[in-house]
């Protein structure tokens, strides 16, 4: 800054630097910040196990878990169970996404639809999947259909709620604009509604992907011969704590990874947004 020479003004010199304005946002992103929390947990677990503060019988040490993973992989149990679980979760997730989006559109774009659909969805949201299981078995039997429907029911609710909310909060200017340029109903959905509801939908998807994995452990306790949930349940029967922890770790990693994928999609798809996080 150059010194002014106007009368009555004190000249600013280099010895009098500008007051730094306080930052109100969270600031620059930390490198590998996402890994910091999980790594810290891992460190506490390792140190605690090595020092003997954590009883091995109650929580196996990380290296025990790693060697158990090695054993499970070498006899092929982990891969085959993981593959079965992943198939179930993905089919349930895909169907749940379709159901959630379709219901959110019907309920978001028509008053009658909302009147009919919104209530039942809210009721479903208040009922735990675990409590529905006995009924689902009575209605759908004990086969694969029941398992997928259970996952679907757990998945579609967050998709519906967040998509519906995102859709209802689209700025009315866009709706007016669409009417002015004479868009058809379908063009309006494709050009305005879907992109406008996308932030909400993606947030719902973050809940849904972890929800799909969570429902798995519940359904795989019934008439399954494979899957991560089944592997854990079997280990429970025999008191193999280390295998149970392997299952938990696998769930944790799967949840973290699928969440990371959705966040990546979020960043790509919503690159036009300028928000606090950018």
């Amino acid at each position: 800054m150059s010194a002014t020479t106007l009368p009555g003004l004190r000249t600013r010199t280099a010895a009098n630097p500008a007051v730094r304005r306080r930052r109100l946002g969270p600031g620059k992103p930390i490198k590998f910040g996402a890994a910091l929390g999980p790594v810290l947990l891992l460190v506490i677990w390792s140190v605690g196990s090595a020092a003997g503060w954590i009883d091995q019988r109650i929580l196996s040490a990380p290296w025990t878990v790693v060697s158990t993973v090695g054993e499970l992989i070498s006899d092929g149990r982990l891969q085959s169970n993981l593959w079965t679980s992943a198939q179930r979760a993905l089919i349930g997730l895909a169907l749940g996404i379709v159901a959630g989006v379709v219901l959110a559109l019907i309920s978001g774009l028509s008053r009658l639809g909302e009147a009919l659909l919104d209530g039942p969805v809210q009721i479903k949201r208040a009922i735990p999947s675990l409590a529905l299981l006995p009924l689902l078995i009575l209605w759908l039997g004990i086969g694969e259909g029941m398992k997928i429907v259970t996952i679907l029911l757990g998945v579609f609710v967050p998709i519906y709620i967040h998509t519906h909310n995102g859709l209802r909060t689209i700025d009315s200017r866009y709706v007016e604009l669409a009417q002015t340029v004479g868009l058809s109903q379908w063009q309006f959905i494709r050009r305005v509604v879907l992109p406008g509801a996308l932030p909400g939908f993606l947030l719902g998807l973050r809940f849904a992907v972890t929800g799909a994995w969570l429902s798995l452990v519940v359904v795989e306790q019934i008439n399954s011969t494979s899957g991560i949930g089944y592997m854990m349940e079997l280990a429970r029967t025999y008191g193999q704590t280390d295998i149970i922890i392997v299952g938990l770790v696998v769930y944790g990693i799967l949840g973290l990874l699928s969440d990371a994928v959705v966040r990546l999609i979020q960043r790509r798809a919503l690159s036009w947004r300028r928000t606090l996080a950018s």
């Binding site: 019988r57 149990r77 379709v102 559109l105 019907i106 774009l109 028509s110 009658l112 639809g113 009919l116 006995p134 078995i137 009575l138 209605w139 759908l140 039997g141 004990i142 086969g143 259909g145 429907v149 109903q185 019934i222 008439n223 399954s224 011969t225 592997m231 349940e233 079997l234 280990a235 429970r236 029967t237 025999y238 008191g239 193999q240 295998i243």
Partner: protein
Amino acid sequence: MSSKRLLSVLALLTLAVTGCSAKADADSAAKLSLDAALPTTIPAGTKIVVGDPTTEVALKLSGQYDKVSKYVQFANLSGGPQTTEAFRAHALDLGSVAEIPPINATWTGLHVKIVASKFRQDPINHPIYKLGIAPGVSVKTLSDLRGKKIAYSPGQAQGALILKVLKKAGLTKDDVKLIEIPSTGDVYVQALAGKQVDVAPIGGVQIKRYLAKYSKDGATTIDHGLRDDAGHLYGPVESLQDPAKAAAIRAYVAAWGVAQIWIDQHPKEWIQGYYVKDQGLSAADGQWLVDNAGHPDIPADWSGAIERQQQTIELLAKETGNPVIQAKDLYDLRFQTVAADAIKAGAK
């Protein structure tokens, strides 16, 4: 969206939902009466769903699976709660359980019959369960149970066992503290290790694990000295009234009997094929389980079993306030010799 189009979408959705939930009941073929002779020919296309995962593995290992799979579809269910739930859903025809579930199913209005029974030779020395004693608790004999906190699960074999143990020790429910916990997975071992209960019945490999993990803290087990060895196949009466299914069940019971003997005669294959490969245990665990199970006893005469079951019913009825039912009504006596005859024919 116009309301007309919306209504058609909704109608479609409703159709989709009802379409996949409505399940046709069994076809109304001529019912087989429960005292008519069992049909021996299985019509082509007959399928029964069987919840007996252990025998499924035995049939595969012994090379008999293909014979059975023509008319059997296996489901990985066993134990009372899961099998009765599946019976109610008309999704299962046979289940493998212990002594209590057929009694409980009858009390809850589900009409079931036992079609096969398996026991252990020298049962007192080869119990399925032992009483696990928490670290630091001193219980040496059954009379030491007075005043202790005991894990109790009504409706399960472990619960009935505790009632029998108390009766044998000359104690009543008021002399001890019964803590209601369902026995699933390793819950009882954890409850003992965490000193939530003083005594809990634990079975199978849990006994070995419990002692291996906690005996250095003072964990012990004691024998209860009672018979706890009953194992049954049972099914809903509606399946037995279907002549095609009844024939298939009869054939399965015969195959089941032969498979139990095969297990007894091939411990090495059984440990490797079932305990290690199918259940993910170590060979040492498998060996321990085989040694502790002793040898099977599949009688051609059920009168002793019915008598013991009657005593169990009377004890449970008194404790639970349910009516006393007749144990002989729980058994379908047409099947009494099916498994034993098949074993005899196989031994020739």
